[in-house]
């Protein structure tokens, strides 16, 4: 059964090409996904991300619960509204999902998890929460619009009620605040500045139309994928899953092993992997020759073979880029096999693009 977000009709009115995305009928593009990509890098674009799962966690012990549940440390969150990117691991250190957690008050945190992992995430969180007496409530009454790009914030500011504008304008990166019925977070999945806005379902289309009216153009999942890949951001299910630990997915920076007494799920497995050695790594690749790197292609390195995880054509660079999982250590000269031919690729540091600037 295909699910539809509350903005489905709005997408169709704009002529979107719709695709099935993890059981959701979502816009792939509204014409040219490359134009939409540039629109976000150069001005402002918006994405319907209402398929994502918003979960509110409430209870006296919610902070202790999240200290246990998440591989990053929620004790970094001290100021209400502050957000943290983290992985949620199983006992073996495998990534159940990646998510953003927002601290609202000592009895209320909010997490946003992926759409495709909704059922297993809710089951896992609910099971873990029981011992802490934490209530788990999915917020299906909220839609979500991501407004991204160098001009995204000022476009949103123009729409916020004057009484609430000052607090939105002064939001720091990776923080959120309530503004009337909206929950506005200065976060995103494009490598650009901007907001992710949670809006009650019945107000979502009105907000979408207002954003259109101030010059924010719609962008689909196609552009979202090229933007996040350029920004070096992993996609759950493609770049990591329960068979990989964060250490194998270039997500070691999201792990908080200090303080050593914090006993989070997966900690023991990660510590043992660090002691015995992490066998695989995720690297960034650029193909200077013509062709497109794609998921599943064989990657040949001095240390053995690996494979392309996410691969695409980068509109900002004009070349193909990819993440690949390969054996640990210096990979030497790397080839990717495309239709039977081994093409040389460059190994580069991530991200490929930051704040609109190409870095590779």
């Amino acid at each position: 059964m295909t699910q539809r977000t509350v903005l489905n009709n709005a997408h169709r009115r704009l002529g979107a090409r719709m695709v099935d995305f993890g059981g959701w009928d979502m816009p792939l593009n509204y014409g040219s996904q490359i134009d939409e990509h540039h629109q976000v890098r150069r001005d402002a674009g918006m994405f319907d991300v209402s398929h994502m799962t918003v979960v509110d966690l409430r209870g006296d012990h919610v902070r202790a619960f999240l200290r246990h549940l998440l591989a990053n440390n929620v004790d970094k969150l001290r100021k209400p509204g502050k957000a943290l990117y983290t992985c949620m691991l199983d006992e073996g250190g495998g990534v159940i999902d990646d998510l953003i957690v927002y601290f609202l008050d000592e009895s209320f945190f909010r997490v946003v998890v992926n759409a495709a992992t909704r059922a297993k995430d809710l089951a896992w969180i609910t099971a873990q929460a029981a011992a802490f007496g934490v209530g788990v409530a999915e917020r299906r009454d909220l839609a979500m619009i991501a407004v991204q790009g160098p001009n995204a914030r000022e476009r949103v500011h123009a729409l916020v009620h004057p009484a609430e504008r000052a607090q939105v304008e002064k939001l720091a990166r990776f923080s959120a605040c309530e503004a009337g019925a909206l929950f506005i977070a200065r976060t995103g999945y494009t490598g650009e500045d901007g907001y992710e806005i949670l809006v009650p379902v019945h107000l979502a289309e009105e907000l979408w139309d207002k954003l259109l009216a101030v010059g924010v153009k719609p962008a689909g999942l196609g552009a979202r994928d090229t933007l996040r890949l350029e920004a070096g951001m992993a996609l759950y299910g493609q770049d990591m899953d329960q068979t990989t630990t964060p250490l194998e997915a270039a997500l070691g920076w999201t792990l908080a092993l200090d303080p050593p007494e914090r006993d989070f799920v997966g900690r023991t497995a990660l510590e043992s992997q660090l002691l015995t050695g992490v066998g695989r790594q995720m690297i960034g690749l650029v193909l200077d020759e013509k062709g497109v790197l794609r998921h599943g292609q064989r990657v040949i390195t001095a240390r053995g073979d690996g494979e392309v995880l996410s691969g695409t054509f980068s509109p900002s660079i004009g070349k193909s880029i990819a993440f690949a999982r390969v054996p640990a250590g210096d990979p030497g000269a790397v080839l990717v096999e495309i239709r039977g031919r081994g093409l040389p690729v460059r190994v580069v540091d991530l991200p490929f693009v930051r704040d609109g600037k190409v870095r590779v």
Partner: protein
């Protein structure tokens, strides 16, 4: 939605073929196919002089989204390729039935053209595909 030129014939796999006055056959992909693929970023052209068999892959079009083989509708040898596509693959998005042609074949068996779909048959196929 039938903007398909009447002088074209089609493969089910969305290639078009046009018999030119000089007896050669020009080949491209349909407007429907380019729409399905989305923004094209790379075209791998066949080499001049290559011999091709009807129904065999001899070029590749790649969009941001996917790579797709291009099958030759007729057998013969490649006598011309659209080199402009190397720098401007998006020409196929803009004009699939015109400037976005991909290669031209000197057919060994022109009667193979009769086995291809007519514009009406092809239009019906893509209509059915979308249902």
């Amino acid at each position: 939605m039938n903007d398909i030129p009447g002088d074209l014939k089609f493969l089910k796999s969305h290639e078009w073929a046009r018999m030119e006055d000089d007896g050669t056959v020009t080949v491209g992909i349909s407007d429907h196919a380019q729409g399905q693929l989305g923004d094209l970023v790379y075209v791998e052209l066949p080499s001049l002089g290559d011999s091709v068999d009807a129904g065999n892959a001899c070029a590749v079009v790649e969009s941001v989204k996917a790579a797709s083989d291009v099958y030759s509708p007729v057998s013969g040898s490649i006598i011309k390729v659209n080199e402009a596509l190397a720098d401007k693959p998006e020409t196929i998005n803009e004009d699939a039935f015109g400037d976005g042609w991909i290669f031209r074949v000197k057919p060994t068996n022109p009667a193979e053209m009769d086995e291809l779909l007519t514009p009406d048959d092809y239009a019906e196929q893509i209509e059915n595909d979308s249902n």
